[in-house]
Amino acid sequence: MFPILEAEFLAPEIKRFVIEAPRVARKRKAGQFVIVRLHERGERIPLTIADGDADRGTITLIVQGVGKTTRLMNLLEAGDSVLDLVGPLGEPSDVRTYGTVVVIGGGVGTAIAWPTARAMKEAGNRVVAIVGARTKELVLLEPELQAIADELEIVTDDGSYGRKGVVVDPLCERIMRGSRIDLVLAIGPVRMMQAVAEMTRPSGIRTIVSLNSLMVDGTGMCGGCRVATKDGTRFACVDGPEFDAHIVDFDVLARRNRTYSACEAQSLKAFQANPKAALDAVRHSCRLDQSHRDESMAEVASR
């Protein structure tokens, strides 16, 4: 059981959690993820680690409520717990001194890109951050990025903040202008990452994407997260989650991610009809876990 110490909304439906997980906090590196299971009947979902504090023994997760489990998680508050949390999983980002690194975050992808952006800055890179969101209130981590980025550009679909457009626009301009770009890190919806990959492909700019595949165990066992690449089949959980964008088959990825769309819709509908029951299930699971522990502790003490 992993206690939630802080929980606050950063934007509508996007919540930041600080969770006690000392072992994970000690080992995690930028780019890695955890798998979380909220309650006894819950599914295992991968979530990128946004930040961490080894001394305090905590990690930070930023969760966008999309399907049932993420929406349910966003009902949790400080004082609640998640039942299972395992990690850090996946390979860390390959943080080196590249020169100029353009970090592109689309939607909640910004939160996933943030730790790597910061690590890139700390490694001596010039960091240009391009952040995209549907609308102003969904723009994430602006102050955090402002603090580390040499340049920060914000793009909104509706033009309510920053420039109107999509994240590929400023990237396109920079490439057309011949600005120096040594590495692009793009994290967001599959189609956004695909667009970035196509944009950088002709000029051969090294481009990294972080793939959020369907996953069960996260340790290479199930093979569900397989990614079709030019170099053959790779597993996002152990070979990734970051990949060279120019070898990934994004169409296959998008189709695989839709495998359970009917089930997901059904789950979400049931959840929305009675979110409180689902929340009670989480709280009940975690209380059970606590009482089990109390019992076994008492047993040990009485020996």
């Binding site: 009947r41 599914e43 295992r44 395992v86 199930c222 397989r226 089949t233 189709r255 997901e264 789950s267």
Partner: protein
């Protein structure tokens, strides 16, 4: 002193007692256990068939050397709990091995009765005794030696790890078992379906180990959450046993393998067994909706059989097993093949997939196969299948499960560079002592041998435990290989 007073001639006249089974038509719609277990009368009758050989071949045929003749004799005397204790001297998971061991090639395969009659139902009897013990709950825990002050970390909670834990804790060592998933049991939980091995039985066996003092930690991926070096230097473990199994799914590298609806057996079975996807939406994890669909499973082992029977239970209209040799060569337990056929599984033998075909949405629609014929025997002694040119055909299916074995998961090895591995990524361990090249670290089970059976993994776990004990007692790593107890 035998307590079986029947003359041997009379014993051979008793027919082998049949295992009561759930009706095939009924069971293909539920996940309840197929085998219902012998009754007291059935078990006692079966026990009376034992010839009580002076040199019991069955014991020699058991990888962990269960004292079969002795426990069977206790059954014929009506002392079922005594029989349970006798088994537990060599086997900490009898309720599991009684269900999943390939008895026909081990104990029962060696039984003298089997030369002229049906062999003694050793597996049935082992299961009976273990179930009797569990249901009556009257057997005390095995004796635990006083604490040695030594600590052992076991990585992986499957059969190898659990059996090693059972021995080490009895010898007074403090044992912690680390598991990457959220439930203890490894392949027993995620791999073997409820209808063949109820999860409650695994939990009970794990509970027993817990009561004996074994500590379990879930949600720890050794190699990621902690490394072996950290376990030894920071957490103070005196020895480490790597028992992570062979969990890397094998795919065939065929066109169309990325289509939705193509699964590894690991994924399909994990979704159902561990995540209860068969009970979606009461459980959140989904799995392919097999209802009314035609599905295929590729392979001929126990895992393939488990997957195809699981798909049938999920409501598949037709469930076909595609195997490239004939039924005679299938590595699955004979009983599983028989059960599968009773449940309406179609065996498509002498056929092999060459491609997966899909629609515009990326969903599987068919498996293209080629007919095979058997040629000369290969390294395994089985006649190797050869494709028949021009014999390709399509089998329309909406889901296909690839169950062709597994490889070595590299997580632990890659984070422990000073522990040698072989060409295929399995851990190199001395066959006698199961020591790795890294002092204090041992390895056992599928991560050393490649995919095998529950009982072989358990046997390896016991060998490693004995070897760890010798190392902890002497503190010497470089001496001659200790002989396992």
């Amino acid at each position: 002193m035998s307590r079986n007073t029947l003359p041997p001639k009379e014993r051979t006249k008793i027919p082998r007692q049949a295992m009561p089974e759930q009706e095939a038509e009924l069971r293909r719609h539920n996940f309840a256990e197929v085998n219902q277990g012998l009754t007291v009368l059935g078990a006692t009758t079966e026990a009376l068939r034992c010839l009580e050989c002076a040199k019991p071949a069955c014991v020699a045929g058991c990888p962990v050397g269960v004292k079969i003749r002795d426990f069977v004799e206790l059954i014929s005397a009506g002392d079922y709990l005594g029989a349970a204790s006798k088994i537990r001297e060599d086997n900490v998971l009898p309720a599991i091995t009684g269900r999943v061991c390939p008895q026909e090639t081990q104990c029962e395969g060696c039984c003298i009765l089997g030369k002229k009659f049906e062999p003694l139902g050793v597996g049935y009897l082992e299961r009976f005794v273990a179930d009797y013990e569990r249901e009556h709950g009257m057997v005390g825990l095995p004796e635990i030696a006083p604490p040695t002050g030594k600590r052992v970390a076991i990585i992986g909670s499957g059969p190898a790890g659990l059996s090693a834990a059972g021995d080490l804790v009895r010898w007074g060592h403090a044992v912690t078992v680390f598991e990457a998933l959220h439930e203890i049991g490894g392949v027993l939980m995620y791999g073997i379906p409820e209808f063949r091995l109820p999860k409650e039985i695994v939990r009970q066996e794990v509970n027993t180990l817990g009561q004996m003092g074994v500590e379990f930690q879930t949600n720890v991926v050794v190699g990621k959450t902690v490394t072996i070096d950290e376990l030894m230097t920071e957490d103070g473990y005196d020895a480490v046993l790597v028992a992570t199994g062979a969990g890397l799914p094998k795919f065939m590298d065929l066109p169309g393998e990325h289509l939705s609806g193509v699964y590894s057996a690991n994924e399909f079975l994990t979704r159902v067994n561990l995540m209860h996807a068969n009970d979606f939406p009461n459980f959140d994890e989904p799995v392919f909706d097999c209802r009314g669909q035609d599905i295929a499973v590729i392979g001929g082992g126990n895992t393939a059989m488990d997957a195809v029977r699981t798909a049938a239970r999920l409501g598949a209209r037709t469930s076909t097993l595609i195997y490239r040799r004939t039924e005679a060569e299938m590595p699955a337990r004979v009983e599983e093949v028989r059960h599968a056929k009773q449940e309406g599984i179609d065996l498509l033998t002498l056929a092999n997939p060459v491609a997966f075909l899909g629609d515009d949405e990326g969903r599987l629609t068919a498996v293209r196969c080629i007919r095979m014929e058997l040629g000369e025997p290969d390294d395994s002694g089985r006649r190797s299948p050869v494709p028949i040119a021009g014999s390709e055909f399509e089998l329309p299916v909406a889901m296909a499960v690839v169950a062709l074995g597994t490889g070595a998961n590299p997580l632990v090895q890659s984070s422990t560079p000073d522990m040698a591995t072989n060409r295929k990524g399995y851990i190199a361990a001395d066959p006698e002592t199961l020591r790795t090249s890294k002092p204090g670290v041992f390895a056992a089970g599928d991560i050393v041998t490649g995919g095998a059976t529950v009982i072989l993994a358990m046997a390896a776990g016991r060998t490693a435990a004995a070897s760890i004990r010798a190392y902890l007692d002497t503190g010497r790593w470089n001496e001659e290989s200790p002989s396992p107890a």
